[in-house]
């Protein structure tokens, strides 16, 4: 053995304040970095993969499983008691909760993410908008609702219809509604304010221009907290249903180079101005006319981060940990190169044929797709029960190809190879989306799913195939199988003989 020792790990122990596939994904990097991992789980998921994957696991309590994952004080207490020195919040849950970030810092632990102030700034959609506008980032014309509702109605109408009503404290696609014409505006505003209060605890709303056939383009940024920031190219997340992304890709579908450049540059400008620290994503909507507007900034790791990782050859979780540990940015802007194209599909427990209603059941059979350039990000195992306790996203399938065409083909093949049986999923639906000519041509926009609804309906099953399906189903049934095997000789060979 030579004299070099293993480098000391950046942290001794990190608690991952999350669950499911993202918890497993973060812990994988922790393991590779020789850092001990701590998982938290609610009673209903006590046998979950993420709890078993970690080096140690602790139970959290709450009225509901989600409530338990939002119990900041309890989580920090666990981190302290088990000697963790940092907390990674994943995405969702407490990842964009400024109060949580403050409490973590106050407890003497590192929060693997941006500063609490930045979270707060960007968490408030209105203040984020104003900040963006002040730093030359294009924002969609919008009007914030004040006490004078009539004034709001007048100025909102001035934006033009259709327009969007959004909750200031909302985000991630939640708390939004479209208004087609003036007659609806008063009532919609009233309802939206009520919902915002109920769901986000903050009844402020604002009205914003509604871009027709918008494309959702977002930029992955990294900041060093001292004003230095770079981008790792953009992602396109225009394929959505119910305002939730289901297919993301990096880089975006075909886009004028100048537009791409402008969007990425605007994102970096924003991150630098905010003295952003750690990883984040700046989201924009891009209209067909080439105008783009700032949507929001997500001060956390995104669900779809793997597509950026695959084209840039980088481990973003590792980068997050390094930045949190005080190391600077891993590379300079000029060193950030992209190669090929990556696509991610979110696999959800839902029924696309019934308005994407969430589905429940058990995972009876699981067969992961194999192959180079295929990542199946999941925390699934056979026998697992899928309930309505958590988000319906089951797993993510991410593939890389040397170009968009190859990536699409590879994703279709991987989806067809993937088998999750025992409950309804959107797997086949995703294949149909990827097979539409419009997708192949890159004619994407956030209304894609609705626009192509008819074409995306499942094709009828032809008779011969249907018979094979029926036979397979029958042979899967115990009583039927017994009826075949439990008839002995000579009767089995005599079959239906009559005298």
């Amino acid at each position: 053995m030579s004299g070099s020792e293993k480098p000391k790990p950046l942290f001794g122990k990190v608690l991952v304040a999350n669950r499911g596939e993202i918890a497993v994904r973060v812990m994988r990097t922790l393991r590779a970095m020789n850092i001990a991992s701590v998982a938290i789980y609610h009673r209903v998921e006590r046998n979950a993969v993420h709890a078993r994957f970690a080096d140690e696991a602790h139970e959290i309590r709450g009225e509901t499983p989600v409530a338990a994952h939002l119990d900041a004080d309890a989580i920090i207490a666990i981190a302290r008691s088990c000697g963790a020195d940092a907390i990674h919040p994943g995405y969702g849950f407490l990842s964009e909760n400024a109060a949580f970030a403050r409490k973590v810092a106050a407890a003497g632990l590192s929060f693997i993410g941006p500063d609490a102030d930045t979270i707060e700034l960007m968490g408030d959609k209105i203040s984020a908008r104003n900040f963006a506008a002040a730093h030359g980032v294009p924002v969609a014309p919008s009007v914030q609702a004040q006490d004078d509702i009539d004034a709001f109605i007048t100025s909102a109408s001035a934006i033009g219809f259709p327009l969007l009503i959004k909750a200031a404290a909302g985000g991630g696609g939640k708390g939004m509604s479209a208004v087609r014409d003036a007659s609806e505006l008063r009532e919609r505003a009233r309802i939206a304010a009520g919902e915002a209060q109920r769901y986000f605890g903050d009844g402020r709303i604002y009205a914003e221009v509604y871009v027709e056939r918008p494309r959702h383009i977002e930029v992955q940024v990294l900041g060093d907290g001292k004003g230095g920031a770079i981008h790792l190219l953009e992602r396109e997340c225009s394929i959505q249903r119910r305002f939730q992304k289901i297919i993301e890709e990096a880089p975006s579908a075909p886009l004028p180079e100048a537009t791409r450049g402008a969007i990425c540059e605007a994102a970096v400008r924003l991150a630098a101005a905010a003295r952003y620290k750690n990883a984040g994503t700046v989201e924009f909507i891009l209209g067909a006319d080439g105008r783009f507007f700032f949507l929001e900034m997500n001060t956390r790791l995104q669900v779809e981060h793997p597509v950026t990782e695959m084209i840039c050859g980088i481990d973003l979780v590792r980068t997050q940990i390094e930045i949190a540990a005080g190391l600077g940015l891993p590379l300079s802007q000029s060193e950030a190169r992209a190669n090929g194209h990556a696509i991610e599909c979110r696999l959800c427990a839902e029924d696309p044929d019934s308005g994407f209603l969430p589905a429940t059941g058990s995972i009876r059979l699981l067969r992961a797709p194999a192959g180079e350039h295929v990542r199946f990000e999941n925390a699934l195992e056979e026998g697992q029960r899928v309930t309505a306790d958590f988000d319906p996203m089951l797993a993510k399938l991410v593939v890389w190809g040397k170009d968009r065409g190859e990536a699409t083909g590879r994703m279709i093949a991987a989806l067809r190879q993937l088998t999750i049986l025992g409950l309804r999923t959107n797997i086949d639906y995703l294949v149909r989306v990827l097979e539409t000519p419009a997708f192949r041509d890159g004619a994407l926009h956030t209304g894609f799913v609705a626009e192509h609804a008819d074409a995306l309906a499942p094709a009828p099953v032809e008779a011969r195939l249907r018979d094979r399906i029926l036979i397979a189903a029958a042979l899967g049934q115990r009583t039927f199988r017994d009826a075949i095997t439990l008839v002995e000789e000579p009767y089995a060979s005599m079959a239906g003989w009559r005298n």
């Binding site: 059941g361 058990s362 009876r364 059979l365 067969r367 989806l415 067809r416 190879q417 088998t419 049986l421 025992g422 409950l423 309804r424 999923t425 797997i427 086949d428 294949v431 499942p458 009828p460 099953v461 195939l465 249907r466 018979d467 094979r468 399906i469 029926l470 036979i471 397979a472 189903a473 029958a474 042979l475 899967g476 049934q477 115990r478 039927f480 199988r481 009826a483 075949i484 095997t485 008839v487 000789e489 089995a492 060979s493 079959a495 239906g496």
Partner: protein, 167 residues
Amino acid sequence: MPLHLALDGEKHSIEILRRKPHLVLNVDGRIYEIPEWSAEPIGEMVLDGNTVAVARAIEDAGRETCFVRIDGRTHEVVLIDPREEFAGHDAARDEIHAPMPGAIVSIHKSAGEQVTRGETVITIESMKLQTALAAPRDGRLRDVLKKPGETFDKDELLARLEPADEA
């Protein structure tokens, strides 16, 4: 009797014609010979040269569903329980009778309300024990013949469902 299954809302039937030397099945009148098939309820089987993944799942409503993934597409087949199919109209299935003498504790559903099979309609008490009386099937409650506190004899009729529609 043939096995009845439903796929995409249509009913089909499968019958065994022969077991040896090969399995031969009749699917809606079409004959298929299946030289190889595996005996597992979950897993892959080879059918007609293709690999088919099959998994059987029982939904909460007690319906037996089989998920079949073939040619990169998943299908859901409902296995129809022959007892459910052939069990016809029973007086027993339209009525709730007292299993023993006792008194009504509480009535949980009222006339005209929809009930599901197994849902508690009446709670009774007898010999210091409380028992929940459930709806024998899905349907609409026609009437409840007793009020809380009233007593009854064994086998006395306590509640009725509207006759089920012919499906």
